[in-house]
């Protein structure tokens, strides 16, 4: 397939997944803001979220103080914010429009419907739009696109590029969401293990739609260790880092087999998976959760770069 087509497919998936993450992040923020106080007033949590999504500077430039309503608008609707739900959906649809022929009608329909509805939402007064409605709306459409892909798309190399996009973006996003919780939201070490600490962890699980699943899998108290195990090392959790690593490996493997050629991307993905398979929660905490996550995010970025070089750049010889 054309490298550019593969690139478009890959980015459809990345933007759809990113839109969903931004919506989840907004939900984390809204829930945490419901807490009476965490030492600095709720404003600082919102600020932390902006920092986590890498949009704090842009927001400050446009709005100044982090007021919740403004943050909601900025992270959901604002086209100036490249990570906003609207920006991501817009670009996912733009990529899809370019490669209409590589998609089924159902997949196109799912993406296009989300876009058309978004344009209607944009015309409504903000006061009529509850945040929870917006985040649910995003997750519903993201699920519809995902479902259309799984149910109707030909299992060819295009399908692999879409899935690579999904898994790489999800790996990056899960790691970032955890890092927000661990590093940004809880700035002072005396909070670790406190009621606030646990509340935040629970909120994080909720935002990942993994709250119930976690209790089924672990039971008892919510602790940092259990959650770290669940979100990093447990292949049963669909958003865990190891699940994403299995996903990238599977699709890179299929590509290598289909094309009869293996690249650096395959070896790097294998190594990343092997590390997680052999990993323990103790090792993660010994390295330092933040340090571990930072390293993981960087490696995921490098893997993305290798995939680009090997398949998407058009310079393959």
């Amino acid at each position: 397939m054309l490298s550019r087509t593969a690139d478009n497919l890959y980015w459809i998936a990345r933007y759809m997944e990113r839109a969903e993450t931004t919506a989840r992040l907004l939900e984390v923020g809204a829930r945490i803001a419901l807490l009476p106080s965490s030492g600095h007033g709720y404003r600082s949590e919102w600020d932390s979220l902006l920092q986590a999504s890498g949009t704090a500077l842009g927001f400050a430039h446009k709005y100044g103080d982090p007021v919740q309503r403004n943050i909601e608008s900025y992270m959901f609707f604002d086209r100036d914010n490249v990570s906003s739900v609207a920006s991501c959906l817009f670009r996912a649809r733009e990529n899809a429009r370019i490669v209409r022929t590589a998609l089924t009608t159902q997949v196109w329909d799912a993406i296009n419907t989300a876009y058309q509805e978004l344009r209607e939402l944009e015309r409504k007064p903000r006061s009529e739009l509850e945040l929870s409605r917006l985040t649910e709306w995003t997750m519903r459409h993201s699920a519809m696109v995902r479902g259309a892909i799984d149910a109707t798309l030909l299992r060819n190399d295009g399908w692999d590029f879409l899935n690579l996009g999904y898994h790489l973006e999800r790996a990056d996003n899960t790691a970032r969401l955890m890092d927000v919780k661990y590093y940004v939201l809880l700035p002072r070490v005396e909070f670790v293990g406190s009621g606030l600490d646990n509340y935040q962890w629970t909120t994080l699980l909720r935002a990942m739609s993994a709250h119930r699943a976690f209790h089924w899998a672990y039971g008892g108290e919510v602790t940092a260790r259990k959650i770290a195990h669940f979100l990093i090392l447990n292949p049963q959790c669909p958003r865990s880092l190891i699940s994403c690593a299995y996903g990238t490996n599977e699709h890179l493997h299929r590509l290598a087999r289909g094309y009869g050629r293996s690249t650096e991307a395959q070896s790097m993905a294998r190594n990343m998976l092997a590390e997680l398979q052999d990993g323990t929660v103790e090792a993660v905490f010994d390295e330092g959760m933040h340090e571990f996550l930072t390293r993981f995010i960087l490696e995921t970025g490098r893997l993305g770069h290798l995939v680009h070089e090997a398949y998407l750049s058009g310079d393959v010889r």
Partner: protein
């Protein structure tokens, strides 16, 4: 063209005084049996189908909604088999003559030597590409998809308004209009025996494959070259690529190496044999034409010249569809084919000629004046519809550059019943069939009918408020 004068009578393709013409016989009951509510429901259904499929259309320079739809009118336009047979012969004849002309003027130029067309009109023409002089493309074909715009003024009177030898667009509407009609009104297709048009993509692919370059010695790889997804016809490009099962590429996806053109794929370079390009000559190859073009492929023309790739339509084909050259198409038919033209030209005055120019300036109020290289209904004057001020302004423009203008009488375009708010009313139509020229000449029975939706209007261009209709040819 402007408002219809109240004195003119127009040929109504369905009703002749009180009787219904034969091809429309069964549509009478159909419209009678459709109450207003049902009609509105169907119209809304059609619109949502179009929008979901994604057929939208951007109008150059108008801004506004980039996802605008071309209005679709559900009332079909119908031809009998006999009517179509004659049209088909005329269209194929014209397509053959135009290609013979192109091959000739880039070769020995016999028609010019014979004095049947002025040399200036050919060789000084902006669309004449000196860079391709002497090239004989595979099968001698320059224009592989010829779109011929026709209007009708009476039961047996058809006129050719213009020829499109480069990259005529709109064929996706022909195909989609039919799909949507079949989905919404299957009973109509059971009651009427309507010739199918869905062979078009297959015929197009075969036509393109039949002109594979000399250096291609296996099943040719065909691609469609698009300027990109911001182009107003992008939907059509991707639609055709999909139906033919070929890649849709942009200039950046192709590169030249050795004696061939290659496309960048996830598995490495793949050789390309036939390029159906939907970009203008000027943008094909920055090394040969416009150096500032970001759309083209550097070195493409060298490969083309040496027989490593075919380009459809061939660079230079535009010289045949120029509005000044148009006047000479009947002459081409006589000269190359030794036949009399089956389809007539609209009488045309060349402002480049002093006598013609004088006549045009004196009669501007009744004429339609067009730029020689204009298209899409832009930059034209419709005399009967214009104010004295507009006419005076246009007269100045003609005097300043007479060679840039031609004029034609305001034609009495036929009408077809069309759904309007109050029910059904006659609206003016034209027709664009798409003739395919390769090893063989093919024409699917149908085309794109454009309709001027505004009451009395004679302008059918979608950029000027026109819509489209499904076009039926009845089986014998």
């Amino acid at each position: 063209m402007g408002e219809a004068s109240a004195l003119t009578t127009y040929f109504n393709e369905m009703y002749q005084s009180d009787t219904v013409r034969l091809p429309y016989a069964r549509l009478e009951d159909w419209t009678r049996s459709m109450p207003a509510e049902l009609r509105q429901m169907k119209q809304a259904e059609a619109e949502s189908l179009f929008r979901r499929i994604g057929i939208t259309f951007a109008v150059y320079g108008e801004g506004g909604d980039p996802d605008r739809l071309i209005p679709f009118d559900m009332f079909p336009r119908v031809f009998t088999n006999a009517e179509w047979t004659r049209l088909e012969r005329g269209i194929k004849q014209r397509a053959r003559a135009l290609n013979a002309f192109l091959l000739d003027v880039y070769g020995r130029g016999e028609i010019v030597r014979a004095g049947r067309i002025p040399a200036r009109l050919v060789y000084q023409n902006d669309a004449y590409e000196k860079a391709v002089a002497g090239i004989v493309p595979p099968k001698g074909v320059y224009s592989h998809i010829v779109g011929i715009d026709l209007v009708r003024t009476g039961p047996d009177e058809f006129f050719v308004l213009e020829d499109n030898c480069r990259t005529p667009s709109g064929v996706s509407y022909m195909l989609e209009n039919r799909e949507i009609m079949m989905r919404m009104f299957p009973e109509l297709f059971r009651e009427n025996r309507i010739e199918p048009v869905d062979r078009y993509p297959d015929l197009l692919r075969r036509t393109l494959a039949s002109v594979a370059p000399p250096k291609c010695n296996s099943e040719p790889t065909i691609v469609i070259l698009t300027p990109g997804h911001f182009n107003s016809a992008y939907y059509e490009h991707s639609f055709l690529a999909d139906l033919m099962g070929v890649e849709l590429v942009e200039g950046q996806d192709l590169f030249v190496e050795g004696e061939f053109v290659w496309m960048r794929t996830t598995e490495g370079p793949r050789k390309v044999d036939v390029i159906y390009r939907r970009i203008d000559d000027a943008y094909i190859d920055p090394l040969c034409f416009r150096p500032d073009s970001m759309l083209g492929v550097p070195g493409l023309m060298d490969v083309y010249r040496s027989g490593g790739v075919s380009i459809c339509s061939a660079p230079g084909a535009g010289v045949a569809d120029d509005k000044a050259v148009y006047t000479f198409v009947p002459e081409m038919i006589r000269f190359y084919l030794g036949e009399e033209p089956i389809l007539q030209n609209v009488p045309t005055w060349q402002c480049a000629k002093a006598d013609d120019c004088k006549y045009v300036l004196e009669n501007l109020g009744e004429l339609v004046v067009k730029e020689v290289h204009g298209s899409g209904g832009y930059g034209m004057l419709v005399g009967p519809k214009s104010t004295a001020e507009q006419i005076a302004g246009f007269a100045d423009r003609i005097k300043a550059d007479p060679g840039n203008y031609i004029a034609q009488p305001t034609l009495a375009l036929s009408t077809v019943p069309t759904f309007v708010e109050q029910g059904i009313a006659p609206r003016h139509v034209d027709l664009r069939p798409y003739c395919l020229v390769g090893e063989r000449i093919e024409l699917v029975p149908g085309g794109l009918t454009r309709v001027a939706l505004k009451e009395g209007s004679l302008v059918v261009n979608s950029s000027q408020g026109g819509g489209v209709k499904d076009t039926w040819v009845l089986a014998e």
